[in-house]
């Protein structure tokens, strides 16, 4: 008969067995150890720089392959705007070399670039189906011609520069404004011009004086000086005076409305002489 094997576990086996029955150790074996092994493996693999670079290259290559699929390519640009000048300018300003992947297009940057153009009020840039980059432009509408020391320029209602103008004669339909700082107050200028509607044929220009108040320039070198505040009301009063007493038709150089409570008329030299003569004559007649 063979001698029976000792059924007793060795001290080591017994301890091992107890260790395996420890819940915390089993939890570690189940979760902690795999995580540890994976982390260790990855970190050992990644400790070599060549392998890291190769991986980055592979990823970049894969990314490029996806990006360059024909579904994502943009082939042409459509500019939706009224004027061909703006379209030309937009095409000029957007540095896009077609065909290009839509992943490479920064639409916000493009939109900001388009909105940099003076004549553009706002723009939207989107990629449409079929690989079309659509730029929709809302133009600025010029409402006045502003003469500055550097030349003529068209401005919109907000006073924003639209485009330079070569000659005043090109846009006779728009009123002329002059003076430094006039562009910033275009809205007020337009109201004043509207108030001056009864004398439209005689209206020449609106001049900003000292960047604080307006002068209305009429033909025959007549000037209506308006106050800083409430220029429109003052203009309306001038128009009322004109309507009632035919003020502007008289031989007056300037109507000084800078102080609305004390308007002053400046007569021309001839009128002044005439006035003096008339008064003297009346005086003498009275004396006799």
């Amino acid at each position: 008969m063979r001698p029976m094997k000792d059924p007793a576990p060795s001290r080591m086996a017994y301890r091992m067995n107890r260790l395996m029955l420890t819940p915390r150790f089993r939890l570690f074996l189940r979760y902690g150890l795999p995580v540890l092994l994976i982390v260790a493996g990855v970190s050992i693999w990644a400790s070599d720089e060549a392998r890291r670079d190769a991986l980055a290259e592979r990823v970049a290559e894969l990314r490029r392959q996806v990006e360059e699929r024909p579904e994502f390519m943009v082939r042409m640009m459509v500019v939706e705007t009224g004027s061909p000048e703006i379209e030309a300018e937009v095409r000029d300003i957007l540095p896009v070399d077609f065909p290009v992947s839509s992943f490479d297009l920064e639409l916000d940057t493009l939109r900001e670039a388009v909105e940099e153009i003076d004549a553009v009020a706002s723009a939207s840039v989107q990629i449409r189906g079929g690989g079309v980059l659509a730029v929709t432009v809302v133009e600025r509408v010029p409402v006045a011609v502003w003469r500055r020391a550097t030349g003529l320029v068209l401005v919109d209602a907000e006073g924003h520069r639209v485009q330079p103008l070569d000659a005043r004669a090109d846009r006779l339909d728009l009123p002329l404004i002059l003076g430094a700082g006039a562009g910033a107050e275009v809205a007020e200028a337009l109201e004043i011009i509207e108030a001056a509607a009864p004398v439209t044929e005689r209206f020449r220009a609106l001049r900003r004086m000292g960047e604080r108040r307006w002068d209305v320039l009429l033909d025959r070198d007549q000037i209506i000086m308006l106050p800083e505040d409430d220029a429109v009301t003052a203009m309306k009063r001038v128009m009322a005076l004109d309507h009632a007493q035919d003020l502007l038709a008289r031989d007056i150089v300037a109507i000084d409305f800078r102080n609305p409570r004390r308007p002053v008329l400046r007569l021309s030299d001839a009128a002044m002489q005439e006035n003096l003569t008339t008064r003297t004559r009346v005086y003498e007649a009275v004396v006799e």
């Binding site: 059924p7 007793a8 001290r11 301890r15 067995n17 029955l21």
Partner: protein, 444 residues
């Protein structure tokens, strides 16, 4: 005494920790087998807060989730004689039980049958502090018991208060809250051989197990094999083990006496081995299959193949009649029972109101013992099996597992021991100050 008190309290704390964790191992290191049960405590339904002195940690319900038995090695007469072998046997049993339970156990409650247990009855009396008996009065009463000389190399295994008397009223189970002046207590103290205990503790430590309790196997077999009435009215439990036969006497649900006869089933096997000239394992097989103690005429014709592996054909093909076998076994069994009778007489068992004797343990399964035992021990003898506990496998419900099952009950409901009470303050430095305060209170 103080360091015993401390070590026993440490063991109690360990037991509480084990029960808090919910898993504790039960280890019965016997002469013929090592049994390990793993208990899981769950559910605190029967929390008896403040009711009685017991019910530790409020844990009462338990379930056996692992059980393993292995042949004992290196144990003789209930005492470890080869530490390494015993340790291996314990490892085998614990590992198998852990495998069955699929849980790791760190705390173990062990019992031992050897170590020559010796019983002492102690008595102490104190005057009650105030009118009502409080817990510290009980502690003082226990501390006032005069400890006899237990001899060198002996250790106290149990020290249980079994009876309290208040003035002229005796038989109190729990004197706390009662009114009286003179509190007397009876304590039962069981001592065992220090070396035997230390060997067992060393084995357990080598197995990485923390000891959470130690009990005498005679005591715990009594707890499991005696029914409640027997424990209440007075009965003796005789645990016939392999190397020793333990006996414990219970009355009023307290053990009042325990002893062990250093004879057991292994001696019967040895007799067969010597008488029939066979090896111990063959003798053990013959004993368990064909053994008996009452011969009948039929047994002369009942021939048993002895068997053997000596290689000698003549020797290995012998047969013996069953009557011969019984003739070998009976004198030894009678000797054991007579020895037990002598111990019971010495303990004054005949003065108990009820004299029920319950035989349990592996050797109690000898056929015909129920006929032999009454002739020696008197009437009122029955063969007992341990009571059923939840989850216990069928294989471990036999009489041989009486002490293992009893140890489960012991783990769940330990009897209050002396060290479960706080050490009386009188032993400390506050003593003279307290005395001064009392003197002032009494004189003004």
């Amino acid at each position: 005494m103080t360091d015993l008190y401390e070590s026993q309290r440490a063991m109690r704390a360990m037991r509480r920790a084990a029960i808090q964790r919910g898993v504790v191992a039960i280890l019965d290191v016997g002469t013929s087998k090592v049994a390990c049960l793993i208990l899981r405590f769950d559910g605190t339904e029967h929390v008896l807060a403040g009711d009685g002195i017991g019910a530790m940690a409020g844990q009462t319900k338990f379930r056996v989730i692992g059980a393993a038995t292995t042949r004992s090695r290196g144990v003789e007469l209930g005492e470890s004689c080869a530490i390494q072998e015993t340790e291996r046997a314990i490892r085998t049993a614990v590992q198998a039980a852990q495998k069955m339970a699929n849980v790791r156990v760190d705390h173990v409650i062990a019992c031992l049958s050897g170590g020559q247990p010796r019983s002492y009855g102690l008595a102490g009396t104190v005057l009650v502090d105030g009118d009502v008996v409080r817990e510290h009065d009980v502690a003082r009463a226990l501390a006032s018991c005069e400890v006899p000389d237990i001899g060198p190399g002996r250790e106290v295994l149990h020290a249980q208060p079994v009876n309290f008397a208040l003035d002229h009223r005796s038989g109190l189970i729990d004197p706390r809250g009662q009114i009286g002046q003179r509190l007397a207590c009876d304590m039962h103290m069981l001592t065992a051989d220090t070396a035997v205990l230390e060997n067992l503790i060393y084995c357990l430590k080598r197995c990485d197990l923390e000891l959470a309790g130690l009990a005498s196997s005679a005591y715990v077999s009594g707890m499991s094999a005696l029914v409640e009435d027997e424990q209440e009215l007075g009965a003796a439990c005789i645990d016939m083990g392999g190397g020793t036969t333990g006996l414990s006497i219970f009355i009023k649900k307290h053990m009042i006496y325990a002893d062990a006869v250093r004879l057991g089933g292994d001696h019967v096997t040895q007799d067969i081995s010597k008488g029939l000239q066979v090896s111990m394992s063959v003798a053990e097989r013959i004993k368990t299959f064909h053994g008996g103690v009452v011969a009948t005429g039929m047994d002369d014709r009942d021939l048993i193949e002895v068997g053997g592996e000596t290689g000698d054909w003549e020797h290995d093909r012998r047969t013996v009649s069953r009557a011969e076998l019984i003739g070998i076994m009976r004198p030894r069994v009678e000797e054991i029972l007579e020895e037990v009778r002598a111990r019971l007489d010495a303990a004054g068992f005949e003065y108990l109101p009820s004299q029920q004797i319950v035989l349990t343990g592996g050797a109690s399964q000898i056929p015909g013992l129920d006929g032999l035992a009454p002739k020696i021990l008197g009437q009122g003898v029955r063969i007992g099996r341990p009571l059923r506990v939840q989850g216990l496998p069928q294989a471990t419900t036999g009489a041989a597992f009486a002490s293992a099952v009893g140890l489960c009950l012991f783990a769940a409901h330990p009897q209050d021991e002396w060290w479960d009470f706080e050490m009386p303050i009188d032993h400390g430095a506050a003593r003279s100050f307290k005395r001064a305060v009392r003197w002032f209170r009494d004189n003004w």
